[in-house]
């Protein structure tokens, strides 16, 4: 199978690159293991301010609703964090005190939404809080099929959200704000907005333990958009080896496709960091498993860690080396048709940001490099 570009990794970076290339008329494939960092997405695009016109267009065409405002957002454990570009699910406030009286609603038996932490955090800001639990037979039925976790609840909520809104209206006394767990709109992203309209108070959705419902939904929207543009999405597969000659990769082998190699002019490596297995570690070093790319790292493993859990961890900074065009470097030489994007770069590229910002900025940068190099080639 032959493509202009093959992208390894279907997280935020890989999807954005794939969509941008398809839009530019390129024929691409994305090889995705399935889960990625979007499954624990906070809903705020880290290190991004106002979206560029290009990003805004991409999101809007994919149906991803975002908004932008410099302010703070409520975190699941009741703290506040500065935030800017976020999904519509996330409320952005000018200051942490966003209400006076707050009703926090959880579902009985749901342990992944931290209502008492939220209440304490809001009370610290001078808000009065009341916590109430809804007991719903529909969720008890879901419980029979496994533990109550965000995705299970969200599946039910897609069906019964109107009933839930009704129950909340009955619970509501004189509160001006209602806080609900972020378990709405898994498949239908209009539901959070419709709940906001159905309840006569400001509705704020607070995050839960992953999987993140807004993140899972965003992933599905990006994939739908990519496939609509004609991209080939190889779900549940992973690149296992690259075939190269003189520093140029001509094809990759994947786990599922056996001897049917994916050939392409360019390759984008968006396989993520350690958690996503884009990088792997053993007691002696951190390596990149597909191409064995160069990685900046200290010899002594003891330097990988900060003994303080909450401190910055050096190991998170180690990523594959690239030149300034994001060409991946192997044995000291930049590979001219391989680009590394997203968290496989490590989190220490100040010009690219971190998290979602790093993913999006590096994806666009690699796409531009590919488009420039192919137009140069066609001119020759």
């Amino acid at each position: 199978m032959k493509f202009d570009t093959v992208i390894m990794g279907g997280g935020l970076a890989g999807m954005v690159a794939g969509i941008a290339l398809q839009q530019a008329g390129k024929n691409t494939a994305i090889v995705s293991m399935g889960q990625n960092a979007l499954h624990f997405f906070s809903g705020t695009f880290e290190s991004l301010q106002a979206p560029s016109e290009r990003l805004a267009e991409l999101f809007s065409a994919a149906g991803i609703r975002v908004h932008y405002r410099e302010g703070v957002r409520l975190m699941p454990l009741g703290t506040f964090k500065e935030a800017a570009l976020s999904l519509d699910d996330i409320d952005l406030f000018p200051t942490p005190k966003f209400g006076r009286r707050v009703l926090i609603v959880n579902f009985l038996g749901y342990h992944d939404f931290f209502s008492s932490f939220l209440a304490e955090g809001l009370e610290k800001q001078g808000m009065e809080c009341r916590i109430r639990f809804l007991s719903l037979p529909e969720l008890d039925n879901a419980k029979a099929h496994g533990e109550m976790r965000s995705v299970q609840i969200a599946r039910s909520m897609d069906r019964i959200w109107e009933k839930v809104a009704q129950e909340i209206r009955l619970l509501l006394k004189d509160e001006d704000t209602v806080i609900l767990p972020q378990v709405f709109g898994l498949l239908d992203d209009t539901i959070p907005g419709r709940i906001r309209q159905a309840i006569p108070a400001r509705v704020v959705f607070a995050g839960t333990m992953p999987p993140s419902i807004p993140g899972v939904r965003t992933q599905m929207q990006l994939r739908r958009r990519y496939e609509l543009l004609g991209g080939t999405f190889l779900m549940g597969d992973q690149a296992i080896r690259a075939h190269e000659h003189d520093g140029v990769v001509h094809s990759i082998a994947t786990h599922n496709l056996d001897a049917h190699y994916l050939e392409a002019r360019n390759f984008i490596l968006a396989t993520g960091g350690l958690y996503s297995k884009g990088l792997v570690s053993n007691p002696f070093k951190i390596t990149e498993p597909i191409l064995d790319l160069d990685i900046d790292q200290p010899q002594d493993r003891n330097e990988w860690y900060n003994p303080t859990f909450a401190g910055d961890q050096p190991y998170m900074g180690y990523g594959v080396k690239t030149d300034e065009h994001l060409h991946a470097v192997k044995d000291g030489v930049a590979m001219q048709n391989v680009y590394a994007i997203g968290s496989i770069l490590g989190n220490t590229r100040p010009n690219l940001g971190s998290g979602a910002g790093l993913a999006i900025r590096s994806a666009f940068a690699a796409v531009d490099e590919i488009l420039r190099s192919t137009s140069e080639q066609s001119e020759i």
């Binding site: 454990l77 931290f114 909450a310």
Partner: protein, 531 residues
């Protein structure tokens, strides 16, 4: 009567202290146990969890070996829900001297330990994970024991006999009148509250910290801090304990326990200042993996969950730099006889296996001082939870058709599992999926077993001990603690402390899946949950 007055105060919430309190309480004494941290935070909770048959000591220390096998048989009867009767193998590898096997077996038989030489082929069938190159094998009645559970059960029984327990409470000094200890000054480390407690006899059962407590009382007990490092693997690779049949050395015991297995240990003398915060070094990690893989080769491919280290409370005897040649013998000091200080007793030395015997010896001395004549019954009376031998039978009785999670609860709680049977089906919600711990079990621990922090809860229920190392369950369990204690502020700090404590045991082995999991945990707590 003054509510702060007791017959006996026991300092130290390890297994020796808990066992001593139980024994004293069962003989009718009014008891108070004071622990500066939580139960089993010293050597009690930082070892293999090996139910020694005594075979390991048979050749060099016949007395310890005999004590071990006697207590081994007793614990099987009185602590069934804390024990897994796995049996053990002593294997001879090609590089070991097979002649030692004969010496070993003879010494075992002399000490009363059933040691049976078996065909290496049979050994491989009995324990498929064992190194297939073995040239000799001896089967012995080793087993595994959950020291946290054992400690909690002893303390619970003491409380059922009227005893009182003050955890997170530090002894800051002694109340002394002339040549007599009359009680202790204490300070609660969580609230800062200072309280004086009085008793006719005070027992120092502080393990390696006993030297410091003795100093506070004005007497000298020389201890020898010897660090032992261990690794926990994420799977139960072996079903029988595997030992090397040779002179005791580093990393030659592999013990299965619940869902994991533990390799250890090393032995290094450390300065006293390090006892409160022992760290595992990279060299120790390497040694443990290399030697461990000789017992069960698959260990070299198995994910490591944690590294940890404990400090053996050996009583100083000679100048041996490794501490291995010192007897694990029990030391009970009557400071009245020894130093002319009345009302003060130190019980130390010994080991997890002989805690009950140590408790008996200490209690005999306490009773003598109080002029009470009452025989010890701890060897015949099952601990709470251990009234029934099979946890499956318990689970059946409580739930009729128990789920695997309910069976897991019964294996941890024994007959006390009946306490979590309730009409509220929310009690079945799982908080910790790795170890299958339910809301009901956690609430039962909070109700009865003095839980103030997540780390306390972990020791009593195994919450957060599994492969995710608390990544998912810590927050959930924190929610339940808030409900019980009503303080979010405190719980927020507790959650941070818990994660820090998990990380401490993770980063020394921070590679592969362990580092993956850690990266995920660090990312979500910081960026997604906002701790």
């Amino acid at each position: 009567m003054n509510p702060n007055e007791f017959d006996v105060i026991i300092i130290g919430g390890g297994i020796t202290g808990a066992g001593t309190q139980r024994d004293c309480a069962m003989r009718g004494l009014r008891t108070l146990l004071i622990e500066r941290s939580d139960i089993a935070t010293g050597a009690t909770g930082r070892n293999h969890g090996l139910l020694h048959s005594g075979a390991r000591y048979a050749v060099n220390d016949a007395e310890s070996a005999e004590e071990c096998i006697r207590e081994n048989m007793i614990l099987r009867q009185i602590a069934a829900h804390c024990i897994d009767e796995t049996d053990g193998l002593f294997i001879t590898l090609p590089e070991d001297d097979l002649a030692y096997q004969q010496t070993f077996v003879e010494a075992c038989r002399k000490a009363g330990i059933g040691a049976e030489i078996i065909d290496p082929e049979l050994a491989k069938r009995l324990e498929p994970s064992v190194n297939p190159d073995l040239i000799g094998a001896v089967r012995v009645p080793d087993g595994s024991v959950d020291p946290f559970r054992l400690c909690a059960a002893n303390m619970l029984d003491a409380k059922l006999h009227g005893g009182q327990v003050r955890l997170h409470t530090e002894v800051t000094g002694f109340i002394r009148e002339g040549d007599t200890i009359k009680g202790v000054h204490t300070r609660n480390r969580q609230t800062g509250e200072e309280t004086d407690y009085y008793a006719t006899v005070t027992v120092n059962a502080c393990g390696i910290w006993g030297q410091h407590i003795a100093e506070l009382a004005g007497v000298k007990v020389g201890m020898f801090p010897a660090k032992g490092a261990l690794l926990i693997f994420a799977h139960r690779v072996n079903n029988m304990v595997i030992n090397r049949c040779r002179k005791p050395s580093n990393a030659d015991i592999l013990v299965p326990g619940d869902t994991v297995c533990v390799i250890g240990t090393t032995s290094t003398r450390i300065p006293f200042e390090e006892c409160d915060n022992v760290a595992v070094t990279p060299d120790e990690v390497t040694l443990l993996i290399t030697e461990g893989a000789k017992l069960a080769p698959s260990l070299s491919q198995t994910r490591i969950l944690r590294a940890y280290a404990g400090v053996r409370p050996l009583v100083s005897a000679d100048n041996d730099p490794s501490g291995r040649n010192i007897s694990r013998g029990i030391v009970c000091l009557d400071h009245e006889e020894r130093d002319g200080l009345k009302g003060f007793v130190t019980i130390t030395g010994g080991k997890l296996m002989t805690y009950r015997l140590m408790a008996e010896i200490a209690t005999d001395l306490v009773c003598k001082k109080l002029a009470i004549e009452k025989a010890c019954t701890t060897a015949q009376t099952p601990l709470p939870g251990s009234e029934e031998k099979s946890y499956e039978a318990v689970a059946q009785k409580v739930w009729e058709a128990p789920t695997t999670a309910q069976k897991a609860a019964a294996s941890r709680m024994g007959t006390r599992a009946s306490r979590i049977r309730s009409s509220n089906r929310r009690d079945d919600d799982l908080i910790c999926e790795c170890e299958e711990v339910s809301v009901g079990e956690i609430n039962a621990a909070i109700d009865r077993l003095d839980v103030s922090t997540l780390t306390d809860l972990r020791r009593r229920t195994r919450v957060g001990m599994g492969t995710c190392q608390g990544e998912f369950c810590a927050c959930r369990a924190a929610g339940l603690l808030v409900k019980a204690h009503g303080c979010v502020e405190r719980e927020r700090k507790d959650l941070a402390d818990f994660l820090q404590e998990r990380w401490k045991g993770n980063f020394p082995i921070g590679w592969g899946d362990t580092l993956r999991e850690a990266e995920y945990t660090q990312w979500i707590y910081k960026h997604v949950l906002g701790l």
